[in-house]
């Protein structure tokens, strides 16, 4: 892969997030890989499905009293726009199955450099079917 990257080939890459943010290290690991990988100027998107939708839930409480006792890393998702990662697909059915809606998610935005730094939403709500199509278009999918 590194040779292709050096030649300036831009690939469509998706990071697929399926797991709840705490309890396993998958969510945090995925986020770190996304931030490190951002340096390679690829066409990156993230998808949140199944329990993965909990990763970008608004108002996370991870204190010891909450029973989690881990650092709340959810503010870091707000930095994704700075790293030019502006496509965050969220599967509608996954939200609905958990009694959630888009209003329960963090307000994740990016500033569009080509549009006088206008703030635009990064979250794209998609149905299971639509997400399948988006995944079909990808050249690389990293599953966490």
């Amino acid at each position: 892969m590194s040779e292709e990257l050096q030649e300036g080939v831009v690939k469509k890459m998706m990071y697929l997030n399926r797991k709840a943010p705490y309890g396993t290290v998958y969510a945090l690991e995925s986020l770190e890989v996304v931030l490190i990988g951002a340096a390679f100027d690829q066409d990156v998107s993230l998808a949140f499905v199944d329990d993965g939708v909990y990763q970008i839930l608004n108002g996370q409480n991870t204190t010891k009293d909450s029973g989690i006792g881990m650092k709340d890393f959810s503010p870091t998702y707000k930095a994704l726009g700075d790293y030019d990662i502006t496509k965050l697909y969220v599967e509608k059915e996954s939200l609905e199955e958990r009694g959630l809606s888009a209003d329960d998610l963090m307000d994740l935005v990016y500033e569009d450099e080509d549009d006088d730094w206008a703030e635009k939403p990064s979250i794209i709500l998609v149905s299971r079917e639509e997400l399948a199509d988006v995944m079909d278009e990808q050249e690389v999918v990293f599953s966490f």
Binding site: E32, L35, I36, A38, A39, K71, D72, F73, P75, T76, K78, A79, D82, Y83, W117
Partner: protein, 111 residues
């Protein structure tokens, strides 16, 4: 665990000199670290250090150099939003050195 002695108190750092506990930070520590690197901190240095601390406070990460450069240009003026300006202030790298002075961990993706 290594420590540095700043104005009579020992502060824990990791093997690369980054603070173990972000909460230990104060301006004297930044000045001490700069002195060890033969740098004198000017208001331009402090702009960057304070910016990094605010960024970390908001996003819980130290920004990558590319992100820092863009943000500095936006906040402090286009003429400062380039790596030449930042490297002139922090010769060991705005990511590594400035983050260390600011008490932050090494930036994610910084090798």
């Amino acid at each position: 665990m290594p420590t540095i002695n700043v104005k009579g108190s020992d502060v824990a750092v990791d093997e690369e000199g980054y603070l173990e506990d972000l909460g230990d930070w104060n301006e004297d520590i930044a000045a001490h670290m700069a002195d060890e690197d033969d740098l004198e901190l000017t208001s331009e240095h402090w702009d960057i250090i304070n910016f990094l601390r605010e960024y970390y406070d908001e996003y819980q990460i130290a920004p990558a150099v590319r992100v820092l450069t863009k943000a500095v240009g936006k906040k402090f003026g286009k003429e400062k939003g380039n790596s030449k300006y930042l490297y002139a202030l922090f010769p060991y790298g705005p990511g590594k050195q400035a983050c260390r002075f600011a008490g932050l961990p090494k930036p994610t993706g910084c090798i």
